[in-house]
C-alpha cells in the first residue's frame, strides 16, 4: 500500500463507529454541534484516518488508567455479524459493493486494529470462492467472439455473462473489480496473440 495509492486513500475515508472516552470542549463540530462540548460517551462515525490514531494514541494519563485512549471503536456495519453470516452461507450471493466500495480494504484495516481471527477466515474463504467466480465471468466476457458457438448473444462488454452474472459483477468491491479487469484483459490479450501467431 503506497502513500500515493488512490484506493488506499479512499479506503481511509471509510467511516467506523467510535465512542469518545473523554470530554473535549473544542470538538463539538464532529457531532454536528460546534457550539457545545463533545461529551464522554458520544457516538460518532469517524473516518479511518482519524479514528485509527485516536484509538491508538494514549492519553498519557496516570498509571491507574494507563491503557486508556481517546476513543473506542466498533466494527462498521459492513463487517457486522449479519454480513459475516451471509458470507458464510454463500460468498457469491453477497453484493460486497453495497456494504462498502472498498470492502476488503476496510476489513484489512479493521483487522490490523483489532484481533478478529474468525473474520479473517471468513473473508479469506469468501475471496477465494468469489475470485474463481470472477475469473469465470472474465473469461466468458473476453472470449465471446468466434470459437464459442453458443456465447455470441448480447453485445457490449458483458458478452454472454447473463443476468445473474451481471448482478454478481455489480456487487464486486474495488479490489475484485481490478481482478476482473486484469483477468478479462489477460484473456483477451492471450487470444489476440494466438490469432496473431496463426496469421504469420
Amino acid at each position: 500500500m503506497s502513500y500515493y495509492d488512490i484506493d488506499a486513500i479512499l479506503t481511509d475515508a471509510e467511516k467506523i463507529p467510535c465512542t469518545f472516552q473523554l470530554d473535549v470542549p473544542d470538538l463539538g463540530y464532529l457531532d454536528n454541534n460546534p457550539t457545545h462540548a463533545l461529551k464522554t460517551g458520544t457516538k460518532i462515525a469517524l473516518p479511518l484516518w482519524l479514528a485509527e490514531m485516536l484509538a491508538i494514541a494514549n492519553t498519557g494519563g496516570g498509571d491507574e488508567d494507563g491503557g486508556k485512549s481517546f476513543i473506542n471503536f466498533d466494527l462498521p456495519a459492513a463487517l457486522s455479524n449479519d454480513v459475516v453470516q451471509a458470507l458464510k452461507a454463500d460468498p457469491r450471493a453477497v453484493p460486497l459493493r453495497d456494504q462498502s466500495a472498498h470492502f476488503y480494504g476496510l476489513a484489512t484495516r479493521m483487522m490490523d486494529l483489532s484481533d478478529e481471527r474468525e473474520l479473517g477466515d471468513v473473508l479469506r474463504k469468501s475471496f477465494v470462492t468469489r475470485a474463481s467466480e470472477i475469473a469465470l465471468h472474465a473469461r466468458k466476457g473476453a472470449g465471446g467472439s468466434g470459437h464459442h458457438k453458443g456465447d455470441d448473444k448480447g453485445a457490449g462488454s458483458n458478452l454472454g455473462v447473463g443476468a445473474s452474472g451481471e448482478e454478481f459483477l455489480r456487487g464486486l468491491d474495488e479490489w475484485e473489480r481490478r481482478l476482473f479487469r486484469k483477468a478479462h484483459d489477460g484473456t483477451k490479450a492471450g487470444k489476440e496473440w494466438m490469432e496473431g501467431v496463426k496469421r504469420h
Partner: protein, 226 residues
C-alpha cells in the same frame, strides 16, 4: 455538516476518475486552494491553542486539548496526503502523455497547427509550445503543470538525443510494410523526407515511409489507411 478532510476527499475522487480517462480533466484550482486554506487555518488553530503553554505543554494534564491538537494534526496530515496524491496522479498522466508524443499545445486543448511541425524533431513542439500557451486560453493544466510538461519534455528530448539511430518513443509494433498509405486529416504543413518534401494539405492522400510520419499519426494529423 462538512468536516475537515472532506474537500481533500473530493480531490482524491477527482484523481480516481482521472486514472480511468485518456485525457486529463481540468485542474481543480478552486478545490486545491480550499484544501490548502484549510491546512493554514488548522495550523493557525494549533498555534493559538499552544500559545498559552509557552512551549511546556503536557498532554497528560490537558487531555482534551491534546485530543483537539491530535485531531487538527491528523486533518492536516490527511489533507497533505490528498493534495500530494492528486498532483502525483496528474503528473504521472502528463509524463505518460509526453512519452506518447503529445506536446503542450495538444495538452492545453488549443491544438492548432501553425508551423513548428516540420520534421519529427524531438521535443521541438514542446519548446515551441511555450509561446502559444501564454495566451490565457482555457487550459486543463495549471501553470505549474504546463511548466512541468515543458521541462519533462526537454528532459526526454535530451535523453532521446543520445541515440540517433533509434526512436525511444516510436511504436513498439514491428511494421509490416516500410511504406503505408495515409490520409491527411488536418493541414500539417510541409515535411522533409528522404524522397523529397511532401506538402500535407487536408484530405490529400500519400504513399509514404512509415517512419517519416509516425509522429504525425500519433498526433492525429494523419490517418493510416488499409
Amino acid at each position: 455538516m462538512p468536516m475537515y478532510g472532506d474537500l481533500g476527499n473530493k480531490l482524491v475522487q477527482h484523481a480516481k476518475r482521472t486514472q480511468n480517462l485518456s485525457a486529463l480533466p481540468a485542474y481543480q484550482t478552486e478545490l486545491v486552494r480550499s484544501v490548502t486554506r484549510e491546512v493554514r487555518d488548522l495550523d493557525r488553530d494549533v498555534a493559538s491553542m499552544l500559545e498559552p503553554f509557552q512551549g511546556s505543554f503536557d498532554p497528560s494534564e490537558n487531555q482534551a486539548t491534546a485530543c483537539t491538537l491530535l485531531v487538527n494534526h491528523l486533518s492536516m496530515r490527511r489533507n497533505k496526503r490528498c493534495l500530494l496524491a492528486y498532483h502525483r496522479t496528474r503528473t504521472d498522466k502528463l509524463e505518460e502523455l509526453v512519452w506518447k508524443g503529445a506536446d503542450l499545445i495538444d495538452l492545453s486543448g488549443q491544438g492548432m497547427a501553425d508551423g513548428g511541425m516540420n520534421g519529427n524533431g524531438n521535443g521541438e513542439g514542446v519548446s515551441s509550445g511555450g509561446g502559444g500557451s501564454g495566451g490565457g486560453v482555457m487550459s486543463n493544466l495549471s501553470p505549474q503543470e504546463e511548466d512541468y510538461v515543458r521541462q519533462y519534455g526537454d528532459l526526454l528530448a535530451a535523453y532521446k538525443g543520445q541515440w540517433t539511430d533509434i526512436d525511444l518513443t516510436g511504436s513498439l509494433e514491428p511494421p509490416r510494410d516500410l511504406f503505408i498509405d495515409v490520409r491527411v486529416l488536418k493541414d500539417a504543413g510541409e515535411i522533409q523526407t528522404e524522397y523529397g518534401a511532401i506538402n500535407l494539405t487536408k484530405n490529400s492522400q500519400f504513399y509514404v515511409r512509415q517512419g517519416d510520419v509516425e509522429r504525425l499519426i500519433a498526433q492525429g494529423y494523419l490517418q493510416k489507411l488499409g
